[in-house]
């Protein structure tokens, strides 16, 4: 137990993207029947990264965690908690791990202390941001001094299943073709006077919990995702303006206070229309950060993959205040406002 502190900050960031690049055109060419629409035009995704044959959720997470530690002032043995937050829990290939926890094995391999806490959180694509909110509370309450939120998303197996199984022009597996593999890690510690997480809130609109399911396929070996995309766009997106307006009332911030917005990376068109909807309640947002054209939807890692990408390009800098918009199966909605300071990358 350490001392309660006013807030937490991002100390360092590590992102791992496998080298192999697969284009949307290649994926579409592998489909038994061509889709009725232009997938690349509809989503804005031209490429995504694809796992190596030896990669799984564990190895992707391990690589990201090591990069994060390399960029950090802290060592694994200094950290008080490891929170693993991926949807995919593949270890030793396509073996979906239930026990021991993914975080337990990673904790041991990374050199965390035996008495550091570890647990796994699953919350669909909101997993990492749920982990960030949890770690923020643990740090602020003084339960821990610091910790790492980690994800390794070996998610392209759902694309492989979709390629085998899509038959219908409005098939529920089309969204499975938008994803890309990645790992991401963030080390958090007590905030300074100049930076930190200024606001974070998530909630679950469980009325829509059954709009997107991920589970093993019942037709082939492997895993599949079934998404009722029309209903998500028709119903859920309509709720964003009220949500952002409510948060604005709570935290007193609107678009004019924000330097950059990082939405969950679903599709360019969906993001544009959602943000336009929110202009009435939140104001016109500044730079919208997009990396899905090159990496696809990396699921739970999406916000950190984009933050890493823009930070490396110098488009997001120390002192910037970023708004992270959270949207995930569940349906989980939320936002985080983070003032970034010096951050190891």
């Amino acid at each position: 137990m350490s001392t309660p502190v006013p807030g937490s900050r991002f100390e360092s960031l590590g992102v791992y993207l496998p080298e192999k690049v697969v284009s949307t055109a290649e994926l579409v060419a592998r489909m038994p029947t061509a889709p009725l629409f232009d997938l690349e035009k509809l989503t804005g995704i031209s490429h995504r990264r694809w796992r190596d044959e030896n990669d799984d959720s564990h190895t992707l997470a391990l690589a990201a965690a090591q990069r994060c530690l390399d960029a950090s002032r802290l060592k694994a043995a200094d950290l008080d908690v490891l929170i693993f937050t991926a949807i995919t829990r593949f270890r030793d290939g396509l073996c979906f791990c239930a026990e021991p926890a993914m975080s337990l094995t990673l904790k041991q391999e990374l050199g965390f202390r035996d008495d550091a806490m570890n647990f796994d959180i699953t919350n669909a694509c909101a997993g990492m941001m749920t982990g960030v909110q949890i770690l923020d509370a643990l740090i602020r309450s003084g339960a821990v001094r610091n910790g790492m939120v980690l994800s390794g998303e070996c998610i392209t197996p759902i694309s492989e299943t979709a390629l085998l199984e899509i038959r219908d022009p409005i098939d529920a597996q089309f969204a499975s073709l938008t994803v890309g593999d990645s790992g991401a890690a963030v080390i958090m510690e007590a905030a300074t006077a100049d930076d930190g997480i200024e606001f974070i809130d998530l909630f679950t609109s469980a009325r829509f919990a059954d709009l997107c399911y991920g589970m093993p396929s019942d037709r082939n070996p492997g895993v599949a995702m079934y998404t009722r995309a029309m209903e998500i766009h028709g119903e859920v997106i309509q709720r964003l303006p009220d949500t952002l307006g409510f948060y604005s009332m709570l935290n007193g911030m609107n678009a004019s206070h924000i330097d950059a917005v990082i939405p969950h990376q679903t599709s360019k068109r969906a993001i544009k229309s959602a943000l336009e909807l929110c202009e009435g309640s939140f104001g016109k947002l500044p730079e919208t950060c997009i990396a899905l054209d090159r990496y696809g939807n990396t699921s739970s890692t999406s916000h950190l993959v984009v933050l890493d990408d823009y930070w490396r390009q110098g488009k997001i800098r120390p002192g910037d205040r970023v708004l992270l918009l959270i949207l995930a199966s569940g349906i989980v909605m939320g936002e985080a406002i983070i003032k970034l300071g010096q951050m190891g990358v």
Binding site: A143, F203, R207, Y213, G214, P216, D242, V332
Partner: protein
């Protein structure tokens, strides 16, 4: 503000659905507390094994949907909203969730946290190769200003051996089109003995590091690994003779992630959770991993 147990419940219906079992326990628990379901700020599911090996959304979201907890805040009332997620950490999941709940209450981020659990074989059937029984458990934690009650301290530990002793996974490539219905479970020979040793080591270290004299402990809630295990642990930790180590293996079998919640419920039902008692939690499982906590009733 620290977390206190406001109400507990179990559900022993065998529907083959972890979602149904946990949701039923959750509704009973809120009913027992007399709490408006809309007041639940966070719902944490700590169950590991679920029907169809569902990976997305969180099982917690599906439980929330079934319980109809604040299903659509943006169209109802944004002041009343619930965040649901799964915390997957096997036998230690409940105490990890209690640790989070306590932090959320200390920082004012939550007033009511509902911790739910249930484990089913992915096929939904009772299977001889699946070591756990299905029991839905619910524990409602609420913020209290009474500093003499509630959780804390906590301690978490994993063994350095690298041999988890128990593994469970879905080998999706080998399962063919049966991936939703299958799971592989392996236990090393002598696994329970190793866990018992680890529970003793972890419990002793916890009491020593926190300066808690063993004779201060009135109640012990531990993993229901086999009949007699809780009593042996109490003895090896040097707890006093009249310390009640709850042992329900003969009735339940091993309800795995529901063990702490269901034991708390049994203690509450039997009238043993009386003010001033000191309750020691020691949970042990795959990894090896342990979680210890003190709860002051």
């Amino acid at each position: 503000m620290n977390a206190i147990v406001k109400a507990t419940a179990v559900c022993d219906l065998h529907s083959g659905s972890a979602i149904d079992s946990a949701a039923s326990a959750g509704l009973k628990c809120l009913g027992a507390a007399g709490l408006d379901p809309a007041e639940v700020n966070v719902l944490i599911n700590v169950g590991v094994y679920r029907e169809n090996n569902i990976m997305e959304p969180s099982i917690a979201a599906l439980i929330q949907q079934k319980m109809e907890l604040n299903p659509d805040p943006a169209r109802q009332d944004m002041h009343r909203r619930t965040l649901s997620y799964d915390l997957v950490s096997g036998a230690t999941g409940f105490l990890n969730a209690a640790r989070l709940a306590d932090s959320l209450m200390q920082t004012g981020a939550a007033k009511s946290v509902l911790i739910l659990s249930a484990d089913v074989h992915p096929s939904g059937e009772a299977r001889p190769d699946f070591p756990f029984s299905t029991l839905g458990a619910a524990v409602l934690l609420q913020a209290s200003e009474n500093a003499t009650q509630g959780f804390g301290p906590f301690a978490f530990r994993t063994s350095a051996s690298g041999n988890p002793g128990y593994r469970s996974y879905g080998a999706l490539q080998d399962f063919g089109s049966e991936g939703r219905r299958l799971a592989i479970v392996t236990q090393d020979p002598g696994w329970v003995d190793r866990l018992e040793t680890f529970a003793v080591t972890s419990g002793r270290a916890f009491l020593q590091q926190q300066n808690i004299a063993p004779d201060q402990i009135d109640l012990l809630v531990t993993s229901q690994l086999q009949a007699g295990f809780p009593g042996r642990l109490a003895q090896q930790l040097g707890l006093k003779d009249d310390c009640h180590a709850i042992d329900r293996f003969a009735i339940w079998g091993d309800p795995h992630t529901s063990s702490p919640g269901a034991c708390l419920h049994a203690l509450q039902q039997s009238g043993r959770l009386t003010s001033g008692k000191n309750l020691l939690f020691v949970s042990v499982g795959s990894g090896l991993s342990s979680a210890c906590a003190l709860y002051r009733v």
